[in-house]
């Protein structure tokens, strides 16, 4: 017979530790509480020893709240602060694609709300198995509909993200969700319970049996394949209308100054909210659990404590304000219930109709979980992969056909089938959205102050070199933000990996964190927070290590942003940066040869910085009609996207070997269009910034024309680029 603790996901030594902490056998509810709080998902027990490197980065003067809070908060000037964070909802989205993805959006939005911010935009980096795999056809449409169904209904514009296909994600899609919010600096909220006698108020949806043990059962174990649909009750069910009302209610409470601490209820539910706020405030709490409004009256105390029912927040309020809090909630149609009181006992005591069902030190749940420095081993196949260099692959003789094939390949084709299901206009502040390089949201209508955001990751690069892969993800997100003219100021991340109990995965993880931390140091950017998702594997086969990195930038006036598409015939087109023989892990090698080997592109963060400064200066001086970063698919893909954005063509002459020029994925590059009369000033800026500049040609016409090689009518190109996903998914 399996021990009860083992069924909850605890190890024998962890169980012994719980006994030692309590000095007795834990009650059922207590055991369930430790199981969820000490799960990988909540405790970061395998990642903590590595993540410290982010905290050790040099202090940043823009960071108002960082790692350890619900989300990082940065000062963007004019009295405003911005908070942003990305989280995973991978396993739930595999089990139940619509609800899994929907509640992923709901969860990250509440994290942002908990900081005192009004959520203003979302983004979704997604990864699936091969585009034509049967399971991708099951999962992708549901995930996209779920993200749209929830985000559209909340009234949050979806301004960007990624869709990547790779067989490594078959059976374990990655559904990450980012939210960004804005707040007046002084409205910053913290997840702390203070003030003995303060009331503990539960706000929002009724508590039901959905999502019980989600963090331990779903998020902290590897799928065995057959377990998918059977785990469906562990997936939460979302109600965006309730969340919309909860958002308005919480913002009203903040503005009235009625809240002394607040925490969203997500993974591990009430247990997490109660123990974390009490531990952070260094206080005790007494909770009368039977006061929690239930959807299902037969629920047991341990179910109430670990339910992950959505759309709930936990607020700490002074007793004198409790009545007003309840009245404000009623105005918004939000259920609010006083369930407990802050005490000086140092213990979290939970009673159920008078009987004590839990009596534990809150810090033992929230902070004193196990910490593992797990064994690491360099993957045995890494050297073999790296010597399998793409230089031996046959190169195309017909470049026109290759450009057309790549433009329509699953990873490079138009994402409109996906993004057209998301509202990008609501709130009226979206200045740029997909397919542009970064999403740009205006924060202040008077001054034009706004933020730019991009999220990027490349699992193939990371598979070949996880240290470089993390830096390449950072560099691409940084570049995507920088080409718009924004000044990058902060980083967040979602680290998606296989099982931490596999030493090779743990090595990939450690290398990625080291790479990202070193990269952030080189770019002078703080890491404001992040999320780790382990156990992304199918059977014994881990996904590609996939750190997804988000970069936030600031624009003093969004009207001066640089968009990506060619627009004005006669503009001169330039390539910025240096092209090298970089084909390892490239989209060309993958799409044309299903080849993954060699080394990823060489990282050059100093060059990224110079490029960023150039783009900001040239954009500010009005010297750029457009700027588009070069990444997957190289210059060929960048030109395709620049032309198709507004249906305006280009004629270029390529420097050197045309194949190399078109498909290499060298870093720190962009293609820009400069209006007539701007050339001299632009060249001067390039020289000052020490960025190599190559004149390619001129905007205009209805073709993508490569001198001496081929001419592609935009209609033919658009058909190839836009028909792929509709053909696959209807």
């Amino acid at each position: 017979m399996t021990e009860a603790y083992a069924e909850l996901g605890l190890r024998p030594d962890e169980y012994q530790r719980i006994r030692d902490i309590l000095g007795r056998t834990p009650f059922d509810a207590e055991l369930a509480m430790y199981a969820v709080m000490w799960s990988e998902h909540c405790s970061y027990k395998s990642s903590k020893v590595h993540l410290r490197q982010f905290g050790d980065l040099p202090a940043s003067d823009v960071l108002l709240a960082g790692i350890g809070e619900n989300a990082g908060v940065v000062d963007v000037g004019s009295g405003l602060a911005v908070t942003f964070k990305v989280e995973s909802h991978n396993h739930p989205s595999y089990v139940e694609p619509y609800q899994g993805a929907a509640t992923g959006v709901g969860g990250i939005v509440r994290d942002i709300l908990a900081m005192g911010a009004r959520p203003v935009a979302v983004m979704d980096p997604l990864r699936f198995g091969d585009a034509d795999a049967p399971d991708t056809r099951r999962v992708l449409p549901g995930v996209v509909a779920g993200i749209g169904g929830y985000g559209n209904c909340l009234g949050l514009p979806n301004v960007g993200g990624e869709v990547v296909f790779d067989p490594s994600y078959a059976g374990n899609p990655l559904v990450n969700a980012l939210c960004v919010g804005v707040l007046p600096r002084e409205r910053l909220q913290l997840a702390r319970a203070t003030g003995v006698g303060n009331r503990v108020v539960l706000l929002g949806a009724l508590t039901g049996r959905d999502g019980i043990g989600g963090v331990s059962v779903l998020a902290s174990a590897t799928f065995d394949g057959a377990g998918g649909p059977a785990n469906r009750p562990s997936v939460q069910v979302g109600d965006p209308f309730t969340e919309k009302m909860l958002i308005e209610c919480c913002l009203d409470l903040y503005d009235r100054g009625l809240v002394s601490g607040i925490q969203d209820l997500g993974g591990a539910g009430l247990t997490c909210g109660l123990s974390e706020t009490a531990a952070k405030g260094g206080v005790g709490m007494r909770v009368e659990l039977e006061r929690v409004p239930l959807r299902e009256p037969s629920m047991e105390p341990l179910e109430v404590l670990t339910s992950e029912s959505q759309e709930r927040m936990l607020a700490i309020v002074p007793p004198s304000d409790a009545d007003e809090v309840l009245a404000v909630a009623e105005k918004w149609g939000v259920v609010a219930t006083v369930i407990g009181t802050v005490t000086d006992s140092g213990r979290l005591v939970v009673t159920w109709h008078g009987d004590v069902v839990a009596d534990v030190p809150p810090g033992s749940l929230a902070d004193d979980g196990p910490v593992y420095d797990r064994p690491r081993a360099r993957p045995a196949d890494l050297d073999l992969l790296r010597v399998d260099d793409p230089s031996a692959l046959p190169r195309p003789t017909d470049l026109r056909a290759a450009v057309l094939r790549l433009a329509g390949s699953p990873n490079l084709c138009s994402r409109r089938w996906v993004t057209d299901q998301y509202d990008r206009y609501v709130l009226g502040n979206t200045v740029l959205a997909q397919p542009d390089d970064a999403g740009i949201v205006r924060l202040d209508e008077e001054s034009g102050l706004g933020v730019a955001l991009s999220l990027d990751g490349n699992g193939r690069y990371s598979r070949l070199d996880p240290y470089a892969g993390a830096q390449l993800a950072l560099a691409e997100a940084y570049r995507n933000v920088a080409v718009t003219g924004a000044r990058p100021i902060a980083v967040t991340n979602c680290l998606n990996f296989g099982s931490p109990e596999d030493p090779e995965v743990m090595w990939q993880f450690a290398e990625s964190v080291r790479g990202l931390a070193d990269g952030c140091r080189a770019l002078g950017l703080p890491v404001t927070g992040g999320n780790v998702s382990f156990y992304n594997a199918t059977g014994d086969v881990a996904i590609h290590p996939t750190p997804v990195v988000g970069v936030l930038g600031v624009l003093d006036d969004v009207a001066r942003r640089t968009p990506m598409g060619f627009r004005f015939p006669g503009d001169a087109v330039y390539l910025l940066g240096t092209t090298r023989e970089d084909f390892g892990g490239s989209e060309w090698a993958w799409a044309e040869h299903r080849h993954l080997g060699g080394r990823p592109p060489g990282v050059d963060l100093a060059a990224e910085r110079r490029l960023a400064e150039l783009c900001a200066a040239a954009g500010h001086d009005g010297l750029l009609s457009s700027a588009h970063d070069l990444s997957d698919g190289g210059l060929a893909q960048a030109l395709v996207e620049c032309c198709l954005r507004h249906g305006v063509g280009v004629a270029v002459r390529l420097p050197g070997d045309p194949f190399l020029a078109l498909f290499a994925e060298s870093v720190a590059r962009a293609v820009v269009a400069v209006p007539p009369g701007g050339a001299a000033a632009f060249s001067r800026l390039c020289a000052e910034a020490d960025v190599q500049v190559t004149r390619l040609g001129k905007v205009g016409g209805e073709t993508l024309d490569v001198e001496g090689s081929f001419s592609l009518p935009l209609t033919e190109l658009r058909d190839a680029h836009e028909s792929t996903l509709p053909k696959l998914y209807g």
């Binding site: 209904c153 209308f241 709130l427």
Partner: protein, 227 residues
Amino acid sequence: MPTAGAARVGVVTFPGSLDDRDAQRAVRHAGGEAVPLCHADPGLHGVGAVLLPGGFSYGDDLRCGAIARFAPVMRSVADAARGGLPVLGICNGFQILCEAHLLPGALMRNTGRRFTCLDQRLRIESNRTAWTSAYDEGQRVVVPLKNGEGCYLADEPTLDELEAQGRVVARYLDVNPNGSARAIAGIANAQGNVVGLMPHPEHATDPLTGPGDDGLGFFVSLLKALV
């Protein structure tokens, strides 16, 4: 900024309204004064016109717009509309106007069964309404469209009557994004003071945040009518 004595246009916020602040902004862009109106308050506070904005009022429970129709403010809006008050319903607002029987027909799930967000080309079919007088008939405009239940349906006699009386206000061009009967994007009541529109003109009043400013004409038309 609204000038002194600018026309006052009420914008109703229901629980779950999402494009309400955008509608207010569009009114201001056109030179009017936007007056927030609350679903629970039957008072219209002396406004010269009312806008029912987009969103998911009451979470689209039962049917889109079915609950909003019974909100206290809607009784006043319906009475005033029958008395000639200009009323524009955008997206969810259009759905509410149909539920309230201020406009004929109904909006059903898109035939593609997906939520769709597009920069949609439209042809203005009638400028004989309070909300479209600033356009030329036949004028082509680009206005964002974003809906999951925007398929306009009515029985054939009703459609024929709408066409015959020039009450089809705008029609989709190029593609019919939601399968609407006769590619209808918007209609008016017989008096031309009440208009329902599935596309969102409030998101096309500033090229910085929309595909252009083609939508501004709806608000300019109204303000001209109110002067």
